[in-house]
């Protein structure tokens, strides 16, 4: 999958960190660090994070057909 977070929007509510702790981490109080290219197996977790974000800052989509990472 491919993930991008609009960090202008992000307000560090950290809901993604709870939803997908292996792929979203806070460094310090508000600096979000995330996995831009998680494995397809993490899809359910990542989608939980997308929906948990109160400011809808996360975009996550499967790799385009025919392309793997």
């Amino acid at each position: 999958m491919k993930v991008v977070v609009d960090l202008n929007r992000c307000q560090a509510y950290a809901q993604c960190v709870y939803a997908a702790p292996r792929h979203f981490v806070l460094h310090g109080r508000e600096a979000l660090v995330y996995d831009p290219s998680p494995d397809e197996a993490a899809r359910a977790e990542i989608e939980r994070a997308v929906h948990a974000c109160p400011v809808r800052a996360i975009t996550a989509l499967p790799d385009p057909a025919g392309e793997t990472k």
Binding site: R29, P36, P64
Partner: protein, 424 residues
């Protein structure tokens, strides 16, 4: 001729396959464009995100693959690794470096910038001397960071310099940060907050040198061994990163008739390219780092900003205008400049333009706590707001900046201490 666009487009060409180009392509499909869509990119990679490169990618956290998500309905043809070399507005064609010619009904210019090279080419080619802009740059530099350099010298007092310095400290690599000006980040944040970030960097072990410039680089057998500063001091270092700004990719537009120079490709508030003689080119649009346009939040002054948020917003405005028919109004690009930076575990954010501010007021938190929102005033108007680790409160000030609300803001509200108006 300033006629409107000529009929609904069947072929749209986007030159530039990074954030702005991809955002425009997504927006074109979202707006219902069903024709042929081609993106041309000079790098061999599919569109990828750059902000993580100076931070987590260099540090080796998570995947180095920051390819941006692409929607399945994008249905775009990518011509990657082949830069555009010529634009012919009359014939409506773009020629690529491999000699192929692509026709268009609408064209978006989103060729962005490249890292400004170190001015001395002999020094720039030394082993150990880097710039940081692309995925490949980040991969090479990251490998050198892993090998455990003795010391990294960073040149440049902007955000990339500070972010890379922060990454070095995370990896426990000794780092010297050379800033030519007397204050770091002053153009973006003003001297007060720029100085605060400088202090934080020093506390985290960065050897910060203000007013420092390189006289020459020292080398042995083609490898960097250190730098000698203008004041004669020598710093031993085996890696150097020149973060000295960006150069706009406009050379391919030479002879096109467009008003394009090192300041960017000139366009109007609707992202339409402008000829050197002032005429609007109805079918050619510009977006992202390469665009220079009248900014309504700065008295219509012509600006070019290298911000992630602007690239997306301008690309989306351009996409809507590319599809606008004679009966459809054009969308004004009136995005309020915004950016973020992560360094030393802090998130710094800014909305508006702090450059030229004459006063500053902390309206939430405190500088001492390193957690605050500060407003910038200029001639009695609110022009920008900056925050450190207080992102939740920053959007509350956007409206005040958009409308140029009086500065200082309301004083004596029951939920805030007395505001102190300071130098910016």
């Amino acid at each position: 001729m300033t006629a409107g666009p000529s009929g609904p487009p069947e072929r749209i060409l986007v030159v530039g396959a990074s954030l702005a180009g991809l955002s425009a392509a997504h927006a074109l499909r979202a707006e219902g464009f069903a024709g042929a869509l081609t993106l041309v990119g000079d790098e061999p990679h599919a569109p990828y995100d750059r902000p993580p490169l100076s931070k987590q990618v260099l540090r080796g956290l998570f995947s180095p693959d920051t390819t941006l998500p692409r929607r399945p309905e994008l249905r775009a043809e990518f011509r990657l690794g082949t830069p555009a070399s010529r634009l012919d507005c009359e014939a409506r064609t773009v020629t690529l470096a491999d000699g192929s010619t692509l026709p268009y009904d609408r064209l978006l210019i989103a060729t962005g910038t490249r890292a400004r090279p170190w001015p001395n080419p002999e020094e720039a080619s030394l082993d150990g001397v880097f710039t940081l802009r692309t995925r490949d740059d980040a991969a090479r530099l990251s490998a050198r960071f892993k090998a455990g350099p003795k010391r990294v010298v960073l040149v440049g007092g902007g955000f990339i310099g500070f972010e890379v310095a922060s990454t070095c400290r995370d990896l426990d690599i000794p780092v010297s940060l050379l800033v030519r000006d007397g204050q770091p980040l002053a153009a973006a944040l003003g001297p007060r907050l720029g100085g605060l970030v400088g202090t934080i960097a020093q506390e985290r072990g960065v050897d910060l040198r203000l007013g420092a410039e390189i006289e020459r680089m020292d080398s042995e057998g083609g490898r960097l061994t250190g730098v000698t500063l203008k004041d004669g001091e020598r710093i031993e270092a085996d890696l150097l990163v020149a973060a000295i700004g960006a150069v706009r990719n406009v050379a391919w537009l030479e002879g096109s008739g467009l008003a394009a120079d090192e300041g960017g490709v000139l366009c109007d508030g609707y992202c339409r390219a402008i000829r050197a003689n002032g005429d609007i080119v109805p079918d050619v649009f510009v977006a992202g780092d390469v665009a220079r346009w009248p900014n309504p939040h700065q008295g219509e002054a012509l600006v070019a900003v290298e911000h992630w948020g602007n690239a997306r917003a301008q690309a989306e405005a351009a996409a809507r205008n590319m599809l606008a028919g004679p009966a459809t109004g054009l969308t004004r690009h009136d995005h309020l400049p915004d950016f973020w930076s992560q360094q030393f575990g802090l998130t710094i954010k800014l909305v508006g333009l702090a450059d030229g501010a004459d006063s500053l007021a902390v309206v939430h938190g405190s500088l001492d706590a390193r957690r605050f929102v500060a407003l910038y005033g200029r001639e009695g108007r609110t022009v920008a707001a900056a925050s450190i680790d207080s992102a939740r409160w920053l959007p509350a000030y956007e409206a005040a900046i958009r409308e140029g609300a009086p500065f200082p803001p309301i004083e004596g509200a029951i939920d805030q201490p007395r505001l102190r108006i300071e130098e910016p």
